[in-house]
Assembly symmetry: C2
Homo-oligomer: 548 residues x 2
């Protein structure tokens, strides 16, 4: 029997049109580090329609990628709206990557045009002449300076828009057409392109409005802290526009002093942020009390969010932290840590400290080395694999044999974890960050959380180093809080309640800071290199045996 339902493709055009039609008075707020500037959704939509016509007028072919190299700004949002709706593909470049990687990525994607913040142009200008596909450079802000090889192809964003009429009719699309590209940050190997479809962006945005996910609504004022070049800022430019939320865009002003100012002035209700941002805000709060009470929720992720961080945010401002785990490959919303109805006497924090449960549409499993599913009992640890309508099944221009899909169509995440009987996922490690000691796995993430929760510790990164007896042992790189001293015996003693003896590190390295990747994760590659080069002072705690 055939359904009688309409064939109605899911697309970013539906997102564009709904925000424009129903929520013309919602606001896009930008921040120059001192004051804010506001533009309505109606005006933003009109400008985006002008941008679409302008890009068509300079000869952008349909279906081709337009790169952006921008902070979170109104013009970047206009590109988010205009580029996919007009049938082109939005390619957000990570401004924190070295220019050499940007060159590789732009050539790999064959970008046809580039929209770039004037302040960021110097960083990228030198490599643009090495991108043969690139036809046009559109500069937001100051009048563009000439770049060799781009005579007559440099445009000032505002001039371009001012000369264009709004595009009034969108082209007809197929919902599986490409809408946007984001490259993985590439901590191993070359960066790889994930290509979102109109369908996947729409479904991700709709799912982001669910009461048990981000619950994004017309009443929200979203402080958009995650960069719009990183997994679509957790999808919030699209979900917030679809819902008619106010969108508060901090530009490059992500230092806590700036955020504090912006929060006080704009009273946002929702923010997504990596734990580092929350730590920064808590530190500022310790100095001079902040009022973050306008937030109904703070979503955090990108790296593990510890129970102590969740409790400190709750104690400081009465705000619940919802942890999430996702990837560029998952658009990125995947699992979220809402406490279940079955919350026990320990309260909500233990649940919030897990990665969470799959949002509607997502499927997660753990498997052994042969892709055979493992029990979901909260004990078995295995490789995490994913399926869902906004999960990538491959990478741009990737040979089929490089696919990270299993034979039965699940994505290998490269992460390792457990799933409990209620479906809560705990991500214990990147597979490559696991420590195999005497035949047993030790989770570096578990150790990092455990050490960070000890008195006097600011943060800790753990990785495997070679050990003559155990093959591998954990090395803990520890940053102590101001005035505290690293005493390995005391830290070891503090870990005994929570960790098996064999898991507790005997190798300790004090550090002033822990290097991070461009997306804010511990940069263990750099740490390993430091260790291998002998550039790390390691204290070995003796006076015990591993078997004690």
């Amino acid at each position: 029997m055939k359904s009688t339902m309409m064939d109605h493709p899911l697309s970013t055009q539906m997102i564009f049109d709904r925000g424009e039609r129903l929520f013309g008075a919602s606001r896009v707020v930008s921040f120059d580090g001192t004051t804010t500037h506001t533009r309505s959704f109606a005006e933003t939509a009109r400008r985006a329609r002008q941008l679409a016509c302008a890009l068509a007028a300079i000869g952008l072919p349909p279906g081709e990628p337009v790169a952006t190299y921008c902070w979170n700004s109104p013009a970047h949002l206009e590109a988010y709206l205009a580029v996919p709706a007009m049938g082109a593909v939005l390619h957000t470049l990570n401004v924190r990557l070295p220019a050499e990687q940007i060159r590789y990525i732009m050539n790999h994607a064959a970008d046809r045009a580039l929209i770039v913040d004037a302040v960021l142009l110097p960083a990228i200008a030198p490599i643009l002449s090495e991108c043969p596909s690139l036809g046009h450079v559109v500069v937001i802000g100051d009048a563009p300076q000439a770049i060799a090889g781009f005579a007559g192809m440099m445009h000032a964003y505002e001039d371009l828009i001012a000369r264009a009429a709004p595009m009034t009719a969108w082209p007809t699309l197929v919902e599986t057409d490409a809408a946007a590209i984001c490259y993985t940050s590439g901590t191993t190997g070359l960066p790889k392109g994930v290509v979102y479809s109109h369908r996947s962006v729409y479904l991700h945005s709709l799912a982001s409005m669910a009461a048990d996910t981000f619950a994004i609504s017309n009443r929200d004022r979203i402080l958009m802290v995650p960069p719009m070049f990183h997994a679509n800022a957790w999808g919030m430019p699209y979900s917030g526009w679809l819902a008619g939320s106010d969108l508060i865009l901090p530009g490059p002003h992500l230092q806590s002093a700036h955020l504090v100012h912006l929060i006080a002035q704009e009273r946002p209700t929702l923010m997504a942020a990596v734990p580092t941002i929350l730590n920064d805000l808590l530190q500022a709060h310790a100095g001079a009390p902040l009022d973050l009470g306008s937030f109904r929720t703070i979503v955090s992720g990108g790296s593990a969010v510890s129970a102590s961080l969740i409790e400190r945010v709750k104690a400081a401002w009465g705000v619940d932290v919802v942890q999430g785990w996702g990837m560029t490959e998952t658009s990125p919303m995947c699992v979220l840590s809402f406490p279940p109805r079955e919350t026990g006497p320990e309260g909500e924090t233990p649940w919030r400290a897990k990665a969470g449960r799959p949002v509607p549409g997502m499927h997660v499993r753990i498997v052994d080395e042969t892709d055979h599913p493992l029990p979901e009992d909260g004990k078995a640890m295995g490789h995490l694999q994913l399926r869902g309508p906004w999960v990538t099944g491959g990478y741009l221009h990737e040979a089929p044999e490089d696919s990270r899909l299993t034979a039965d169509g699940w994505l290998r995440t490269g992460d390792v974890g457990r799933i409990d009987t209620l479906g809560f996922v705990e991500v214990t490690d990147r597979a490559k960050d696991l420590i195999k000691s005497g035949g047993e796995w030790i989770s570096s993430a578990d150790l990092e959380n455990g050490i960070a929760a000890l008195p006097g510790v600011a943060e800790a990164a753990v990785f495997a180093i070679p050990d003559p007896r155990w093959e591998e042992r954990p090395l803990a790189v520890v940053v102590m809080a101001a005035g505290a001293e690293l005493v390995p015996a005391a830290l070891r003693a503090g870990l005994r309640e929570r960790f098996a003896r064999f898991m507790i590190p005997e190798y300790w390295a004090p550090a002033d800071f822990i290097p991070r990747t461009s997306v804010g994760k511990f940069d263990k590659k750099t740490l390993r290199e430091q260790f291998d080069a002998g550039g790390m002072t390691v204290v070995v705690e003796t006076g015990f045996t591993l078997g004690d």
Copy 2:
């Protein structure tokens, strides 16, 4: 450029599996009129998997319809879950229809099996032998009595389940495959079958979780008042299961005394109900105060929800009513009346008294007689047309020329209304219920609301009668509250502030009650027949001229 996203079909299997896997401890509560009985989602899912195997075992071919003729019960929910997931099609029959219409509908759909409540079997048994496609009858409750022509094909639901193993693997489906059928109630012409797809059911369920729609979540306890044979009970069996809400099923016990008991005992957080149910509860409350404070929201629709009803519910229990307008053709969620951010000094009620704004995914427009779009200025009145991924584009076994689609793919609703600048829809009438008086349209729904808000009036139905001078004039059939008397001059005076003179009825008919259709709407067909047959006492208010 091709997207790299997985091809992951949207289906009711995803709904089934999520509720089962993540929310095994959520509850399905049934009510026998006195006490409640609880079964977990885990147990319900197991029984549904057994039902799937049992239906396969009795020889149900894939893709064929299985009819249900049931109240809102756990077994009905099990059929909702099992039938589409196993690749068959759930066909919910309206138990309030005459047997003759049921016979027509079952033959039109070519139902292969029937699941029926034992108490309802006598009503339907006589026509079953006239349904040649029907192979099996499964009876819920008492042991089935023999029916002529069904020897060996009558099954007791519990026996059937007890003998079957749970179906562990679902068949592979295409997302546009049929999942469920619901026939329109057919106030004009023959009933027509709307066939929902797996995709449309999934999208409707996901959209029902959005914060600005029903916001259905794991924290909810849904009192499922709308019959599951009527537009899938507003989709709540699926959306509630997807979200892990507790589902409270009142069976046939919808009288306010029963509902009051159930609400007191189960403390539901969400209910959808037609205005009649709310009126009944308010009337009970006037006698002996009820506590409905457990509701976070009551969704109401099916017929227009007046401002006064919304205010009385808020005053009585502090609960917000969210009005909705939808149709069997729209799954049914279409527009919902959340007040906008721009709520003015008049407060929220004027917004809640409108039909509402389109939920994400839905598109609404008004057009003239030639399908040309009209201005959305809150003034122009036109024919309402719809598009969206869960809107029907036709009817089962319908000839293309009978389609209600426009040339550009919009569904003609048969309703008439306005759309304002913020996108709020007001449904003023069924096109056939409009009154054309002296060349001007008069909205019968506007008049009904206006009259019902006058002191002493319980409810009012308005329809067109022939008039020698004006072609048509409105006749108001009015039920007065106990002790109040119908004084046409007083009612006319009360309407003057809100209505143009030509809109105010001069024809008035007192009545003890207003007949309603099987889905609770005013049955104007019956009223017109009463009037045509001279069976209505009509008072004509004189002493004025229409031009005064």
